[in-house]
């Protein structure tokens, strides 16, 4: 039998109102607090290095003696017409196929950073390859060992090249800094268009001039 409430019942449920005042008070306090500590423009740091002779160090020699690995000598050189990428010191007339490539500027007269990014990824994937010798402790530009904030050794991937994470940048005198930053961005990481996975390229740029 279905339940039927008694018709004699006089009780009427009152609509309960939620007391929003304490929440409002909290929000009114929180909003100014967060407004003052909000980071409207996110700033980042772009680390660069000088070639060892300009850095005034020379400590890199010790590392070379301890680990006599071959040099990749990756060079990205901009000129008035385009961007040249070379490894193992190859030029447009010397070197084996795949060791030198040249990308003309875009129609806007700017370096073709997309093509450069793809070429650097090819070098990373096919020439440097993934880490072959496990992990080793990171060193700075002067060859000193690097440590994490907690004092533990800073470990990085070890590769078959002494300068596997380094790219030497050379550009014309008048290149604007924004263009240089775009080049550095293109040489630091590669994004897989299919999976959006970020792959490390050459995160240590050395800036100089190649005559």
């Amino acid at each position: 039998m279905a339940f039927k409430p008694s018709l004699k019942r006089k009780f009427v449920a009152e609509e309960a109102e939620l007391n929003l005042l304490p929440i409002l008070n909290m929000i009114v306090v929180l909003i100014p607090l967060l407004l003052t500590s909000a980071e409207w423009v996110k700033l980042g740091l772009l680390e660069t290095r000088l070639p060892p002779q300009a850095a005034g160090g020379g400590g890199g020699m010790a590392t070379e003696q301890e680990q006599p690995l071959p040099k990749l000598s990756l060079l990205v050189a901009l000129d008035e017409g385009g961007t040249a990428v070379s490894i193992f010191g190859a030029t447009s007339t010397t070197g084996e196929p795949g060791q030198y490539s040249y990308f003309p500027h875009t129609a806007a007269g700017e370096p073709d950073v997309a093509a450069l990014n793809e070429e650097l990824w090819r070098i990373r994937r096919d020439v440097v390859k993934p880490s072959v010798t496990g992990k080793e402790q990171a060193t700075d530009a002067s060859g000193n060992l690097r440590f994490n904030a907690d004092g533990s050794p800073m470990m990085v991937d070890a590769y078959g090249f002494d300068d596997a994470e380094t790219v030497i940048i050379s550009a014309p005198n008048e290149l604007p800094f924004q263009q240089l930053v775009k080049l550095l961005d293109a040489s630091r990481r590669w994004k897989d268009p299919a999976t959006s996975k970020i792959e490390k390229l050459f995160p240590t740029p050395l800036m100089g001039k190649v005559n």
Binding site: V28, I31, A38, E39, K42, G44, L50, G56, P176, V181
Partner: protein, 183 residues
């Protein structure tokens, strides 16, 4: 006891206590709160952007650290190009003027290493290095040669190289450029 006459009159007219509808305001506040929590910075700003400087955009994800700071101004916004001392987001003094910064050595002078040095910046960095090395000995704060550079997006490559070269010569080999994260 009977209610006062004005209350009885009000009750007869049907006046009741009106509630302000807070739901829509709560919605706005909640959205604002979420947005602000997303842009909240727990560490605070360790590097403040200098006024009248158009920093370049980058996809870097490294956060700024507080170190010795210099500004390279192309003069695009201020009309006063040069290298300045930076302290807490302000220009504190001109180290090298625009002519010194942007001069390009040609011919035999191009091979002279001193052509790539900025004298004012060099003096300043030498003093800072001495101060930081003294602090290292007294307080144990290591001097790691870090320097933070705020450079205008329009500054040319030659000026950047001059500043980097001067920094490297004076022991500040870990140079870091402040950029605006664009992703």
């Amino acid at each position: 006891m009977a209610a006062p006459s004005h209350k009885r009159q009000a009750a007869r007219r049907g006046n009741r206590e009106e509630n302000i509808p807070l739901a829509s305001m709560m919605d706005i506040f909640t959205n604002m709160l979420l947005f602000l929590i997303m842009s909240y910075s727990a560490t605070g700003l360790l590097v403040n952007q200098v006024d009248d400087l158009e920093l370049p955009l980058s996809n870097i994800d490294t956060s700024p650290r507080e170190t010795v700071g210099v500004v390279i101004d192309s003069g695009k916004l201020t009309g006063e190009p040069g290298v300045y001392v930076e302290s807490k987001g302000k220009r504190r003094g001109l180290l090298d003027d625009g002519a010194t910064l942007m001069s390009v050595a040609t011919g035999a002078a191009a091979n002279d290493p001193s052509a790539m040095l900025l004298p004012g910046l060099q003096r300043y960095l030498r003093e800072m290095a001495l101060e930081l090395r003294a602090r290292e000995q007294q307080l144990g704060i290591p001097f790691d040669g870090q320097i933070t550079i705020q450079a205008d997006a329009a500054v040319d490559y030659n000026s950047i190289l001059k500043v980097l070269n001067t920094c490297g010569t004076e022991g500040f080999s870990m140079t870091q450029f402040v950029v605006i994260k664009s992703e």
